[in-house]
Point group: C2
Chain length 560, copies 2
């Protein structure tokens, strides 16, 4: 049975999984009319109700007024009514989709991507991506969270794109415009927990696990009593974003924190669902994991006992380069910092591929035998920047030259590169952690939680207050594209992106000498110097070409 509503003639069939509720009604907001819902199979309640698109409604759950857990829009946020949304506008029918080998991703947060923080204003920046050669946009989670400012990982209405960024039709148009420009769009979705605030699911049924503890909120119940409906809630969500909004893929947040001991893990079922959607819709849909277990099974095929994802984030590569360039060694960076870590990562995919991690105090990871394209790498992302006390980007930590070197090794690596919004023009504004809530107590808990977290990194004392408007405003991109520095950055990124598209192949080998990393692809050799001195390198196969000098922290490419 579906969650939420379906249109049948001029009515909607409204369903909700609410086995804990005896008396369930739909309340039409405009006139207060109540439509009683009938018990249906498996703990669902159903009603046919006259609610045209645009109409607002609540549920009355044993008298308690709550929004629809499968709400497709909360025009006034988490405490307001739900709105009936009909996405029947046709839009772009065909657009180009890409193989992983051609993917250049940029991660963006709609709220801070532009001054206005809306889909509509983001849409105006599409030329910027086209100009750069970026062909994938990955949106941080859109699902409705408490308040107006949030990274998106506190979502409580997982079908409702946040009202802060615009209306559903604005999101549709934004995606259409990207598609018209041959840019694919990936959505970050959070299935490992539900936000701690405004979460009404527990009132209705066993949406949450009694066996598993998630550090960020209640873990969804994928294997306990009632789990069939929770699984279908999530699988329907997967289909919904892909079909209704035409997303080209999903990035699943913290897959390592999705616990399920069912015979078929929910991640495998998501993978199967994606494959059947691909078949149905006739387009490639990418499934990307954020997996910190370094478990290569996540990208192994289902038939090879894997989870069948297309790709997985590779934190090791970021941490290795970051720690080496910054000399940071607190928190999880204690596991990194040697130059050889970068080489190992380039060669093997994971650095921790069965090695003991001091930070985690356990053996971490598996050997990674798949195509290196299946690992997504980055010099920064929302976590690596925003989960620093002061939200500094690489440019602010190591300066422009080394930050560009970091970007170069990402873009010229055998992995799939992902940029973080703004880095391509050398953005220096931070990306801070921010929330907005009317609840002071909750705001304090969040702030203290973060202060505590940063102890590990010895960032004691005052950190920017997550709930202040300043933390949000400061995180907005400046869009300083046109000054000299901005132009230089843009040119550099364009050059690297074009180079990548031309030369990076699945076949490669890696070596190094005097802190200069050499990656030999089929078409060219790439030299990336981490040396602070000029170094002499021998180009091409030994002895076949003259020696050349490479400047400190620079890149040199020699066609084969």
């Amino acid at each position: 049975m579906n969650h939420g509503y379906e249109f049948v003639d001029d009515e909607v069939v409204m369903n909700v999984w609410a086995p804990k509720i005896k008396d369930m009604m739909v309340l039409r907001v405009k006139d207060g009319v109540k439509f009683p819902m009938n018990g249906s199979s498996g703990g669902f309640k159903s009603a046919n109700v006259r609610l045209p698109p645009g109409e607002r409604y609540y549920f009355l759950a044993d008298g308690q007024r709550i929004p629809d857990p499968a709400s497709r829009f909360q025009p006034d946020g988490i405490s307001g009514p739900s709105e009936i949304i009909k996405n029947d506008y046709e839009g772009v029918k065909k657009w180009k989709t890409y193989d992983l080998k051609d993917a250049i991703i940029e991660e963006i947060h709609i709220g801070t991507f532009t001054k206005e923080g809306t889909y509509e204003s983001a849409e105006k920046m599409v030329d910027h991506f086209v100009n750069l050669g970026i062909n994938h946009i990955e949106l941080m989670p859109l699902n409705q969270t408490y308040g107006t400012r949030n990274w998106g990982y506190d979502g409580v209405f997982i079908f409702a794109p946040s009202y802060s960024y615009g209306r559903p039709e604005n999101l549709r148009r934004f995606i259409d415009t990207l598609h018209e420009n041959n840019i694919n769009v990936i959505l970050d979705v959070v299935y490992n927990h539900i936000g701690p605030f405004g979460n009404i699911l527990g009132i209705l049924g066993d949406y949450f696990s009694k066996s598993y503890i998630n550090p960020w909120g209640q873990a969804l119940n994928f294997d306990g009593p009632g789990s069939d409906a929770v699984r279908s809630f999530i699988l329907q969500n997967v289909k919904y974003w892909i079909e209704e909004y035409k997303f080209d893929g999903l990035r699943i947040d913290a897959t390592h924190a999705i616990f399920d001991s069912s015979p078929v893990h929910i991640l495998k079922e998501i993978s199967t669902t994606i494959k059947s959607l691909e078949h149905k819709l006739g387009r490639k849909i990418k499934l990307i994991a954020e997996d910190d277990k370094n478990d290569s099974a996540i990208v192994d095929r289902l038939e090879d006992c894997g989870y069948g994802f297309d790709a997985s984030w590779n934190g090791d590569f970021h941490h290795s380069v970051h720690s080496y360039l910054t000399s940071e060694n607190r928190g999880y960076y204690e596991d990194y910092g040697n130059f050889t870590d970068i080489i190992d990562c380039l060669k093997n995919g994971y650095l921790y591929n069965g090695k003991y991690s001091k930070y985690l105090r356990k053996t971490r990871g598996t050997v990674f035998a798949g195509s290196r394209r299946k690992l997504v790498v980055f010099d920064s992302n929302h976590d690596q920047v925003g989960n620093r006390a002061f939200g500094e980007r690489p440019v602010s930590l190591v300066g422009d030259l080394k930050a560009r070197l970091f970007a170069a090794i990402v873009l010229l690596s055998p992995f799939t590169p992902m940029l973080f919004m703004g880095e391509e023009y050398g953005e220096t504004n931070p990306f801070l952690f921010f929330i907005q809530t009317e609840d002071n107590e909750f705001a304090n808990i969040v702030r203290n939680g973060r202060m505590n977290e940063f102890k590990d990194f010895s960032w004691n004392g005052n950190i920017p207050d997550p709930s202040s408007i300043e933390s949000f405003d400061k995180s907005k991109l400046s869009w300083k594209l046109t000054d000299n520095r901005g132009k230089q950055f843009i040119e550099f990124y364009k050059k690297m992106i074009n180079l990548r598209k031309r030369i990076v192949s699945d076949k490669y080998s890696v070596s190094s000498e005097n802190n200069v990393i050499r990656i030999d692809y089929e078409k060219a050799s790439v030299y990336i110097s981490f040396s602070d001195k000029q170094q002499i390198i021998k180009q091409g196969p030994k002895g076949t070409r003259d020696e050349t000098a490479i400047d400190p922290f620079s890149i040199l490419v020699q066609d084969t």
Copy 2:
């Protein structure tokens, strides 16, 4: 690094994983001499100490006197010292091992198997098994629990065979005698939790998971910080029982409650360990799961994405027959009760093979495609009898005739049969849940917990007190073998066991008519009548033989 001690010349090298402890010492009991332990790799503490076999010792963990977590014997129970055990007596070197297809198992609880409740007295009963044709004994957990009377699932020293049953050398001798009589011995081990009482592991290190909730005690930490040492603690335990005591296999308790999100699940690593032990020792070692997920992956080969176990308990078969014969429909029996359930089970292995379970409120199980020998079935076992408020066996619930019918369908099924001690001579003594503890508060918690549990089955009011000596004494076998009824039972079981050995084949088909189940094996057809009337059956392939009458609740076998 090994947990516990190893003998090196006339000393032992004593190791303990105790990263939480700063100052660790070994305390020799006889003279109070303290041996300081040195920090070693990965949170281990080590010392070479002069402790000959038989010597008693404690650990002093930052001054706190505790037994060795890897103690091999607690001669005075959980609060007393540990004793150095050297199992260097050679004993039987070669004995017969069996394929699953030849296995007839009997589950026994040493404490109640004989009046004395010891290995030594159990050893005297070996002829009884030989006489019956039973070739596998499965021992309920031996590991040291609090108190003197316990089923064994509250173990806190998983390397220490309980002192209530005798000394380690008595256990060795018992196993040797069984081996001399060509009987294999399987040990029930508990790796899903550690008993709630007397558990000192948490003092020493992160032995317990912070992510998973186990209903019976703390869940072991197989994937969090510190988990390497916990995994090795368990894997060493697997090897220990097999190598030191020559067990022929392990039955892993509640595998469905062993949570591990590591790349390689601990159950798969146990399976791999068993396979390498088989190779090393040159004998077949059986690995049996108690899995209530009905997930056939547990017995699929590792290379087929399975867990590689030899067999798994099949509760569905028991519940189907039990519920049909008794008309019980409370608690989990609500999912059973139709005659067709028995047929479905016989045909498909699991009844819940992807069907919705009302009791569990979720879809349960997978299709079972493997050999039916990989499912262990029973008409009763410690749980099915002992987890009833009054511990009644089938004979007490449905009478001798139907109880024997139940045994017959178990023994003549295509599955692997397991008896519960005493049923073979029609034991009418109950098998109750019992514990012993000096702690009244804890005893009350246990008693109230059970009363609560039995609400489901509408067994309200007074149930036998688990901590009373009566509950234990009443559960002891009566050994009424020689009266008429006893003799009749024994003859019946012998006949069924011999029949099984002669006729049951992997190839079979199942049909039924008028409540008579027919199982066609290659060598014979078996008719098992659940009808309360005499029925006429057509023997053999249709029309080839005369019609025959089958009495109510009886068995008829016709060679092909």
